[in-house]
């Protein structure tokens, strides 16, 4: 083993292998910075070049790409509140808040150093474990994975903010949204309402953008200043961030461990890892009060975990040829294009390839973190750009990212609908992380529960491993509840308040109706297809009925918003800019729509001259064109394109 390790190391530095690694890293940084893209896109771009390439260089390049994305995706999460990738959502909670407090550089530097350590940890684990990991992976069957899913869901308790009921219901909404599409057991179409688009269900990118990016943009458009509101010198933050990470080294190590484990277990869903890490760090802290308000630990924990996850994810990919995530699936494709067949044979015959991957992973993390560090204080200045200029870019990026999901205009429509709902969630203090966790774990829970029962009958609950995980879950819930003080209720709310017609009651009505519809829909299916959504929706419906009509205290939590009607009106005025873009795209296609949007927003919100506006606009357009050229992509076309034949890129 040791000689393979050393020979792989020297191999990377010989010839052009290292250059390809660098190329992969640089590519990964760009892909990570642009939200909604992720490893899959990067691979798709590189795929045509891989064919016929020298395997070591190609491996180095591919790994360089994946390793760095969870590092660089932090930029938009922290600076703009837009989750860079699905593994970077939890970072937004505290990271973006810190940026708003003028501490962007600190947050970024803490994130990068945590990412670096997490990534190196993942590489170490990969080195040691890959030779013996097979029994570990074989050990975790459907029953164990189901219980781990339950452990994941238990994080909702910690992330519910001031009201567990809201968290519970939000999680229910997420779980039910996750059942949309084809049922795992029977393939029946659930909640699709005959729409072709919904047959494939909703995707986490859309939900992530709708839940975090859109409400934040609306909020910022409403205030119309700069992202950072305090007058703190940004430059000094980077040292502080580094010190923060060093100080919290135990969190870094623990979360790296969690990340690696989640990565190793195929089928758990890498998108949950940042929430699990975040939930864990909240549970195990004595002082929880600052989480969500700018606690640096809320940045360090998920960032360490999501980098470690990549290292872990390579284990089942190499060992079994089973990808643990979407980007691993593409990586697998790249491997076979190179003529490298994963499996135990690879480990036995050609350990060197595995170690090339390990070293590439380690080096890429170091180089990537270094590069991100180097540019972070410059990039952090984005938070000082007036929002009138930044907003059109952000809206463009969000819409572009959302469009990647299925590359149809309906992606944007769904984004608006969900975005509107999540903006209301933000106004009324319903915890969006709970919705997200429910959504991401929905398929996991249902599939594994179904499989576990089919294989072992309900006895699966008595398996030792399942009981152990269950106990860990209970401990984690207990830790989460510790020191949580239920805030005393100030509002005196009556049931009659429910029937007043205002935005909040409409919002509650929509949720209630949603639960009602899902209950109804679940009964139209076979038992196996309907039991999971049916069970969840009935529980939710009953809970909500109880909350609204039968429990004064819970009602006051649910009907208790801090947003006045004025605030909400402003919020929707801001939201209308996004609707405006989507309407423009519907009629004129993406590029023309963007141009019109840029000009209108900047004219409206800033005092810049028309010339400057056009200059900035062309910058944005060039960016889009470069991206689409490499991704072999057509933009959404509008009605105009159906009647008039236009040259690319106005198609």
């Amino acid at each position: 083993m040791l000689d393979s390790l050393i020979s792989a190391f020297t191999l990377i530095f010989s010839g052009e292998h290292f250059l390809f690694l660098l190329f992969g890293v640089v590519m990964g940084i760009f892909i990570g910075i642009l939200p909604g893209l992720g490893g899959i896109v990067g691979f798709s771009i590189l795929m045509p070049f891989i064919y016929g390439m020298d395997p070591v260089s190609a491996l180095a390049m591919l790994i360089g790409l994946i390793a760095v994305i969870p590092t660089s995706d932090t930029f938009t999460s922290v600076l703009m509140g837009i989750p860079g990738s699905s593994a970077s959502q939890a970072t937004v909670l505290d990271g973006f808040t810190l940026a708003k407090q003028g501490q962007a550089a600190r947050a970024l530097s803490a994130a990068f150093s945590a990412s670096l350590f997490g990534g190196l940890f993942g590489a170490c684990v990969l080195t040691l474990i890959v030779v013996i990991a097979k029994p570990i992976i074989l050990f975790f069957g459907s029953s164990e994975l189901f219980m781990l899913g339950i452990l994941g869901i238990s994080m909702v308790g910690v992330l519910s903010g001031d009201s567990f009921v809201k968290g519970f219901l939000a999680c229910g909404i997420g779980l039910l949204l996750g059942t949309m599409g084809s049922a795992p057991a029977t393939g029946e179409w659930r909640l699709t309402f005959g729409s072709y688009y919904l047959f494939d269900g909703l995707k986490v990118v859309t939900i992530g953008l709708a839940a975090f990016a859109i409400p934040e943009i609306c909020d910022l458009l409403r205030k119309n200043k700069t992202i950072a509101t305090k007058d703190e010198p940004i430059g000094k933050g980077w040292l502080k961030g580094l010190m923060d990470t060093l100080r919290e080294k135990w969190i870094v190590i623990r979360c790296a461990g969690i990340g690696t484990l989640v990565g190793i277990l195929p089928g758990l869903g890498g998108s949950v890892v940042d929430w699990i890490a975040y939930g864990h760090v909240v549970q195990t802290s004595k002082d929880k009060s600052n989480f969500g308000k700018g606690d640096i630990r809320g940045v360090i924990a998920p960032e360490s975990a999501n980098n470690a996850k990549e290292g872990g994810g390579l284990v089942p990919t190499i060992l079994f040829g089973i990808p643990g995530s979407g980007s691993m699936a593409v990586f697998l494709g790249g491997l076979t294009l190179l003529g490298i067949e994963p499996g135990p044979a690879l480990i036995e015959e050609d350990l060197q390839f595995t170690y090339v991957m390990v070293w590439s992973l380690a080096l890429a993390n170091v180089i990537g973190a270094g590069m991100c560090f180097a540019i972070s204080s410059k990039v952090a200045k984005i938070t000082t750009i007036p929002y009138g200029v930044l907003a059109p870019f952000m809206i463009m990026i969000i819409c572009f990212a959302a469009f990647q999901v299925t590359r149809s205009i309906y992606d944007l429509y769904i984004l608006i609908i969900l975005g509107a709902f999540c903006t209301l969630m933000k106004s009324y203090n319903w915890p969006r992380p709970a919705l997200l966790i429910g959504f991401v774990l929905s398929d996991t829970l249902e599939t594994y529960l179904y499989q576990a029962v089919q294989i072992y009958d309900w006895n699966f609950l008595t398996r030792t491993s399942v009981i152990i995980i269950f106990i860990i879950t209970l401990i984690s819930i207990f830790l989460g509840m510790r020191t949580k003080k239920e805030k005393t209720v100030v509002h005196n709310v009556k049931i009659s308040d429910l029937f007043k017609f205002n935005l909040e009651t409409v919002y509650l009505g929509i949720i209630y109706l949603f639960f009602g519809i899902t209950v109804y829909d679940s009964f139209t299916h076979n038992f196996l297809g309907g039991v999971f959504p049916g069970g969840i929706s009935i529980i939710m419906f009953v809970t909500m009925t109880y909350t609204l009509f039968f429990n004064q205290r819970w009602l006051s939590k649910a009907l208790n918003s801090s947003y006045s009607l004025e605030d909400t009106k402003d919020m929707f005025y801001a939201f209308s800019w996004i609707i405006f873009l989507v309407l423009l795209v519907t009629f004129f296609g993406f590029i023309i729509g963007i141009v019109i949007l840029f000009v209108s927003v900047m004219k409206n919100k800033t005092n810049l001259s028309l010339l400057k506006i056009l200059l900035i606009t062309s910058g944005g357009i060039v960016l889009m064109l470069v991206l689409s050229y490499f991704m072999v992509l057509d933009f959404p076309s509008g009605l105009l394109q159906e009647y008039v034949k236009l040259p690319w890129p106005f198609k």
Binding site: P48, R407, Y450, Q451
Partner: protein, 355 residues
């Protein structure tokens, strides 16, 4: 006067023939793949693309474009809309996008029988069972009957349909546990001991199962087989020691398979394996362009480069062009009404599939 007339006619004829010569110089051919990057269809297309580029007149760039969604129906629907006949867009489908058509899936708004086919790539699969049943050779078949076997499936209407129907026709009692995200995870479940019967496509079978079989953790049953030039199912050359499904059926039941179940199996086998991946041109493309592509693919398959690398990349499977491809297309999509009704009823009754 007459000479002038002849000259004009001659000039017209020459210009007609020259305009009939297809040439893609300076153009780009888009090869649509209805599945995501990195998957089997993607790998297959990317393997062929550069060689196709060299073989087409004018050597156009051939770009593979992924358009996943709806189990392959989304891209196929889009392809069905193409009517311009310029021959610059081709579709490479897979079994997974053929099945929805065969089963009248609601999402399907295309008809692959209308698309001219220029290449048909076969692949194969092999089934195996756990030694815990006491099964060692086909003579031990009785040991499998009466045992409840478990099989990890993706869904009742996915490629698993072929395996499940085969097991059913053999009289085996197989419980399908759904929701596995592919044959890979199902294989892990088999290794874990949770599943007791499984099949793998050839490339996976070769690499991994040789170890499982060697270590005594799996016992081979049979391979599906391949389609010969006339559309009959014969033994798979990749697994010369394994009987084809037809042979195995005969050894168990003492007669050749027939009836609606068999007819349905044959069609779905041809769609799912015998002619799993096909390259089509849009409906209504001129015969010249179709011939150009067919000739190009034939050239690729006969080339040295292909002969050297294909068995590693695609396996030792027939890559049919020209008439053989058309025969494969016929096998893959011809299902009589009775067998179709039979299979739909079978799927509804046993797996709760709603049509």
């Amino acid at each position: 006067m007459f000479k002038k007339f002849l000259a004009i006619v001659a000039a017209l004829m020459m210009s007609m023939t020259s305009s009939f010569a297809v040439d893609f110089s300076g153009k780009t051919v888009t090869w649509l793949v209805p599945f995501g990057a990195g998957g089997g269809s993607d790998k297959w297309a990317r393997y062929y693309a550069p060689m196709l580029s060299k073989a087409l007149p004018g050597n156009p760039t051939v770009v593979v474009q992924n358009c996943p969604g709806g189990s392959g129906t989304k891209c196929s629907n889009q392809f069905a809309q193409i009517k311009n006949g310029d021959g610059l867009t081709i579709l490479g489908d897979s079994g997974s996008s053929k099945f929805p058509f065969l089963l009248d899936d609601k999402r399907v708004q295309y008809n692959p029988t209308k698309w001219p086919v220029v290449l048909s790539s076969a692949t194969g699969g092999g089934a195996y069972v756990t030694p815990k049943t006491g099964y060692k050779t086909s003579a031990d078949f009785k040991k499998l009957q009466g045992k409840k076997l478990k099989y990890g499936a993706q869904g009742a209407t996915s490629l698993d349909l072929i395996a499940l129907l085969a097991f059913d026709m053999l009289g085996l009692q197989v419980d399908a546990v759904m929701g596995y995200k592919g044959r890979g995870p199902a294989r892990v479940a088999f290794e874990r001991g949770e599943m007791t019967i499984d099949y793998q496509t050839s490339s996976a079978y070769l690499k991994v199962n040789q170890t499982l079989v060697k270590d005594g953790k799996a016992v081979p049953l049979f391979a599906w087989g391949i389609l010969d030039e006339s559309g009959n199912i014969v033994r798979d050359p990749t697994f010369p020691n394994l009987p084809s499904f037809v042979e195995y059926y005969e050894s168990v039941h003492g007669k050749k398979p027939k009836g609606p179940a068999w007819s349905a199996w044959k069609t779905f086998f041809a769609s799912g394996f015998g002619g799993q991946k096909m390259v089509y041109l849009p409906e209504g493309t001129s015969a010249d362009i179709v011939k150009t592509y067919a000739d190009a693919f034939a050239k690729v398959v006969a080339s040295d480069e292909f002969k050297k690398t294909s068995s590693k990349r695609l396996g030792k499977y027939p890559q049919a062009t020209g008439k053989a491809a058309v025969a494969a297309q016929k096998e893959a999509f011809t299902i009589d009404a009775k067998s179709k009704a039979w299979i739909k009823n079978h799927l509804s009754k046993n797996y709760g599939v709603k049509f």
